[in-house]
Amino acid sequence: MSSSRTEAWEYMRSGGEVFLSDGIWYLTSAEACRFAARHPEVFSSSLNGAAAACPVPLYIPNAIDPPEHARYRRLIDPMFSPQAITDQEPELRRRMNALIDRVIDSGRCEVMADIAEVYPTEVFTLMFGLPQEDREKLVGYAHATMAGASNPELGPAAEAAGVELAEYIKEFVAKKRVTPGDDIISKIIATAGLNEDEIIALCFNVIQGGLDTVTSAIGFMMNYLATNPAIRQSLIEDPELVSPFIEEILRLESVAPFLPRFTTQEVEVCGTSIPAQAVVYIGYAVANRDPDEFEQPNDVDLTQSRRSHFGFGAGNHRCLGSHLARRELKVLFEEFHRRIPEYSLAPGAEPKVRWPALVSCLDTVPLTFTPGGTR
């Protein structure tokens, strides 16, 4: 599976555990990536905000180093804890079923447009207490602000979008100060010690981190299930396998393949010396295929229990939204297959990964099934 990604990551691994290419140091082995993740004082994230088109000079918590980093995580992690997500689960299920309602009678579903690009934003607006009708505007801001990172020509447009998004956030912060709700923005406002710039920086980071990534994971998951009916059937028959399967998809498809850092001092990684002030890409996607770490590195392997992977990164910057992402994918899996257990990829469809991009994502995943979803 994922043959094009397998080839790409194997090609990167062939360069070595640690190698320099075009001015960037790549870390490709599990050991090298873990080392960098565990030493944020050496592998600094403080320049990461520049690519975000965020108009305030902060990007929280992604571009914050220790010791301030832990302070921010301590404030926001409880809002994304497993229990906080469980509290939202009935609404997550309700919204997933509403999306399925829209497609089930047609016998067709383009996963990206009909579900993947919609669901994570609906969940986001729900949890942040933003109006559902602003969903498309938010997606637009998210895409526009991040576009400049992979394409410098889009830099000015990204910056303009960043200013608009900051204004949008400020407007809602002001509203929630007057009329607080049971939502994350209200909780952030009520948290002592965060000023307005910090709140904007935090919202930017969460918006940019939580939308495209889940969108991408949904696309990969449904594409895999559409093209592997035997595995799909075994997952439907044994629900205990669903969570391990989701972890394997996250491992194999690594929606955030490379995370940038820069070195604050010279450092030796797996026997290779990297100079100070060097740009380093932690290659989590390649680490996720490390044969020293995973027995069947390039295939879905449901027999490994308690398996750890780098799909959410590692170390102190490990994904804030991991519990939410897993729950969104689990709810999608359960509700979709409860209602549409049989489907396949539309004839002639060739989903492709858009590249280069910060987030690795399929362009289209068109499914066909019996109208009504019956077998």
């Binding site: 993740a37 565990r38 832990a70 995580r73 301590r74 992690d77 409880p78 804890s81 497993p82 229990q83 906080a84 308690r306 750890s308 590692a314 170390g315 102190n316 910057h317 490990r318 991991s322 519990h323």
Partner: protein
Amino acid sequence: MRLKIDPSLCVGHGRCYAEFPERFADDEEGHGTVREERSNSSADQDPDAVLAVTRCPEGAITFEE
């Protein structure tokens, strides 16, 4: 040996209680707490404890005498 969480390092990533619910619980803030203080085993005999230690993103968990 026993598992310990250093509360000054824990920020609430939640990996410990999400991945090893038999060994860890969450408190009201989503921080990790150890369910059973003492294990009769050594590191060799308690692979889950060793995994939990290595997986904490903040390095807040120890398994020691």
